[in-house]
Symmetry: C2
Subunit: 115 residues, 2 copies
């Protein structure tokens, strides 16, 4: 967690830009408010070029339902053998830049694995 990250906006549609030296972060896709297919493409790319078989989708707030859409589209249309190995939900506190009260936002992580 070093670089300026506001997950909803830092959508990396194609390649994860390889900024992070850690291997495990390469396969994290932040789902925002683009159409689901953008993220489906990112998952497919991750599966095809990664050295692991796992891709993790992360989303917050309203984008959570998009993340579920993405996982389901990948499983039903592109990698029928893929499985969701892990689903977790949580809460993050967001402090508005302009000040004001921090508010809670729900988060979700879905890990897809293809063997």
């Amino acid at each position: 967690m070093s670089d300026t990250e506001t997950p909803e906006t830092s959508e990396t549609p194609e390649t994860p830009k390889a900024k992070t030296p850690e291997k495990k972060d390469q396969n994290v896709i932040y789902v925002g408010n683009k159409p689901p297919m953008s993220y489906v493409m990112a998952v497919i790319t991750g599966f095809n070029m990664g050295d692991t078989n796992e891709v993790t989708l992360k989303a917050r707030g309203r984008a959570i339902s998009t993340a579920v859409d993405v996982a389901e589209i990948v499983r039903n249309r592109f990698f029928k053998e893929a499985e969701t190995t892990n689903i977790t939900i949580g809460t993050e506190q967001i402090t508005p830049r302009e000040g004001g009260n921090p508010r809670n936002v729900s988060t979700m992580e879905i890990t897809l694995r293809k063997d």
Copy 2:
């Protein structure tokens, strides 16, 4: 909180399912597009009067993020000892009443347990 028994929330917008008389469905709450707090209340009611310690939230489409909100609000504010014992995602096919192509919609189930 005495006589709001059946979680007043079975508003599945597209298919109005007839009320099922089975016992095990008592603790299922269908999350729709009301404010999250309506469903939080239903969960609390379920926990307080049910004979089991489990409540399952079901949601489709955009309501999925609301369901996550509900689960998180229950855990963070009302039943801090509650756990999400099960989270599953899936896909349902919906056929529009007016005809036309069936379309897929994502579904999610979150089971909360308090001990």
